[in-house]
């Protein structure tokens, strides 16, 4: 077994930063009301002299203006599970450790190529999502976790080399139980190498089973004991906006992130999405729902974003928006579109499906359609919007333009070119038609398809044009 660990050192901060597009000083604070402490801060706040662990009062004295947000532990958990769903694309065994995701990659290397290539893919994926990360490889998840904290990019693939690699790790970075680490430091044990040399049974008697088990897991002498992560069957992502948004244009940036996250999640699940709901949350729990429907399951980030934006831009905001939530319950399987090897369409062409989605997003759900013939001979019902063609080839002349409803043909009496063709049907469904159809020419030279009551040649009703 080979395990990769993706350590997320600034998960809370990245989760906040990635939906903002300005880089003013920002800190995350935590702790009781009278003793707020900075727990995370961005680069410009650090440049101003603020530090993690500083009291908020001290920070205010150093910097007059900075933005602060409460540290939200539940949000951190959500981001971690989201990233685990993304990592699920690369391995079927994904586990969660504090501030880290571990995945078993020994079996994935056959598909994704040697470790440097897989590592580059992971880094690219996480960097694109906007999360800072440190990646390490080791034969056990706990060892990978330790190595990731120590050195970004460390890789120890063989079990035999694990002990020497961990030899010089300081105890306070060993991620062993904190109580034991403190007591061991008092005993003069400062590196893992020193700990390895101590007799095991003595350790167990002094520190209990906990340290023993952690040590055995670290060295691969005991199964890792991790709960394997399973991605949920629905996607639910919500973000709170830092200020009230009154126009739709300002929602586009967070929307791009959300649809990007949805696409990453779908890629991890190897699925697609056909319908999702975008909820714009207002004050006092009022919401505006924007439903996004696609013609076929999709998972391309750009397409999801564009479709959702098209729908969103049509929305009139009744009141300011405080938060956004993206909900996707229906996640069908995704079948990528086949492409011709010798594709004649130009480079950078927009696929037809995407074009249809774009038109539908702006013009309406029913705006783009195909017409097919039905088996009904009445011209009003002879064609319908559908995908499968039930019709046959009509032996009699048919016009090329069809009026939705017949209208009286005005002007002088037309010249008959062909006909009549009698149509007598529909007595069973209340829309009975008894008509004689003729091809006629109007005084303006247009060729028309018109009918009159059976047996007469007058009272012309226009049905279509032979354009």
């Amino acid at each position: 077994m080979t395990w990769a660990c993706i350590l997320l050192p600034q998960l809370a901060l990245d989760g906040v930063l990635r939906r903002r597009d300005d880089d003013g000083p920002l800190v995350l604070i935590d702790g009781p009301v009278n003793a707020r402490v900075i727990v995370a801060l961005n680069a410009s706040a650090r440049a101003a002299g603020l530090r993690v662990g500083q009291r908020l009062v001290a920070a205010r004295a150093l910097l007059a203006q900075f933005e602060m947000l409460p540290h939200d532990a539940a949000m951190v958990g959500r981001w971690q599970r989201f990233l685990a769903a993304v990592a699920y694309r690369y391995s079927s065994t994904v586990g969660l450790l504090p501030h880290a995701i571990v995945l078993e990659v020994g079996h994935s290397l056959g598909l994704f190529g040697p470790w440097p290539r897989l590592e580059a893919m992971l880094r690219e994926e996480f960097a694109a999502l906007g999360f800072r990360h440190r990646i390490a490889l080791a034969p056990t998840p706990q060892a990978a976790w330790v190595l990731a904290g120590l050195q970004d990019g460390a890789a120890v693939p063989e079990l035999a080399r694990l002990r020497p690699a961990l030899q010089d790790v300081p105890m306070r970075k060993s991620r062993l139980p904190a109580v034991a680490v403190e007591r061991l430091a008092g005993m003069g044990i400062h590196t893992l190498g020193q700990l390895f040399r101590l007799p095991r049974d003595g350790l167990r008697r002094r520190f209990g089973c906990e340290l023993q088990e952690a040590l055995e897991r670290l060295l691969g002498e005991r199964p890792p004991g991790l709960d394997s992560y399973l991605p949920p069957d629905r996607f639910d992502l919500s973000i709170e906006l830092s200020h009230e948004v009154e126009n739709v244009a300002s929602l586009v940036f967070p929307l791009r992130r959300m649809t990007g996250d949805l696409a990453a999640y779908l890629a991890g699940r190897d699925g697609g999405v056909q319908r999702f709901v975008l909820r714009l949350e207002h004050r006092e729990g009022r919401v505006t729902e924007v439903r996004v429907g696609l013609l076929a399951p999709q998972r391309d980030a750009g397409m999801l974003f564009e479709t959702a934006r098209g729908r969103l831009e049509q929305v009139q905001l009744p009141e300011p928006v405080l938060g956004l939530r993206l909900l996707a319950r229906d996640l069908p399987a995704f079948v990528p579109a086949g492409r011709d090897l010798f594709d004649e369409t130009p480079l950078h062409a927009l696929p037809l499906d995407q074009l249809r989605e774009r038109l539908r997003a702006r013009l309406g759900e029913q705006a783009v359609h195909r017409l097919v013939a039905t088996t009904d001979p009445r011209p009003e019902r002879a064609q319908a919007v559908a995908d499968t063609d039930a019709g046959h080839d009509e032996p009699h002349p048919r016009p090329t333009w069809l009026l939705p409803q017949p209208i009286p043909l005005r002007g002088p009496s037309p010249r008959i070119l062909a006909g009549p063709e009698r149509l007598e049907t529909g007595w069973w469904d209340g829309a009975e038609a008894c008509r004689d159809y003729y091809v006629v020419e109007t005084s303006l030279g247009q060729r028309a398809w018109a009918f009159c009551p059976t047996g007469e040649q007058g009272g012309w009703m226009l049905q279509g044009w032979f354009a």
């Binding site: 074009l355 017409l371 069809l402 354009a467």
Partner: protein
Amino acid sequence: MGAVVALSGLLDARQVWRGAAAPMPAGAQPTGWPELDAALPAGGWPEASLSEILLPADGVGELRLLLPTLARLSRAARPVMVVAPPYAPCVAGWRQHGVDMRRVEIVAAPQNEVLWATEQCLRSGSCAAVLAWPRQADDRALRRLQVAADSGRALAFVLRDRHCLANASPAALRLEIEALPQPRAWVRKCRGGVAPARPFPLESAPADRAPH
């Protein structure tokens, strides 16, 4: 005296115009009307360009002119977009002209979105031909369509009223259809050639003739 230059070299480099017109290559987008093909400088529709068709009224032969092209494209599995048609295309009638209706997408667009939708279709590069019926289109709007058709390598057909003939147009080809005394088409402008001085009869296609 200048250096002696071999004439054949210049001719091969195509720097000297020899007066006689080179034989016209067969057009890549034939209209399906042999007489019209012979008269047009590109041997057919101007490729990746805008063609304007001017009508005295709807239903005077504009589809008769275009359907052979649409039939050819749709049978080659190339998508055709019909944006904001004045009436519903009659499936049976189009099929009698050989059009594969599974490749024809009808876009119902309100008048103020017709130009936008047409431009999107043209620019996408995935459509073979786009037919549009814009009510208001000035030369700037048409130029946008011309550029979009060029970048998407698509045939663009804009069908407008005949009174627009008085206005300048950036279209590569302008055809005017006349219904009386018989249906015929005049070439009013064709880029890269002189517009022929006589009209082309738009005789009814075989399917229009009554079989009985």
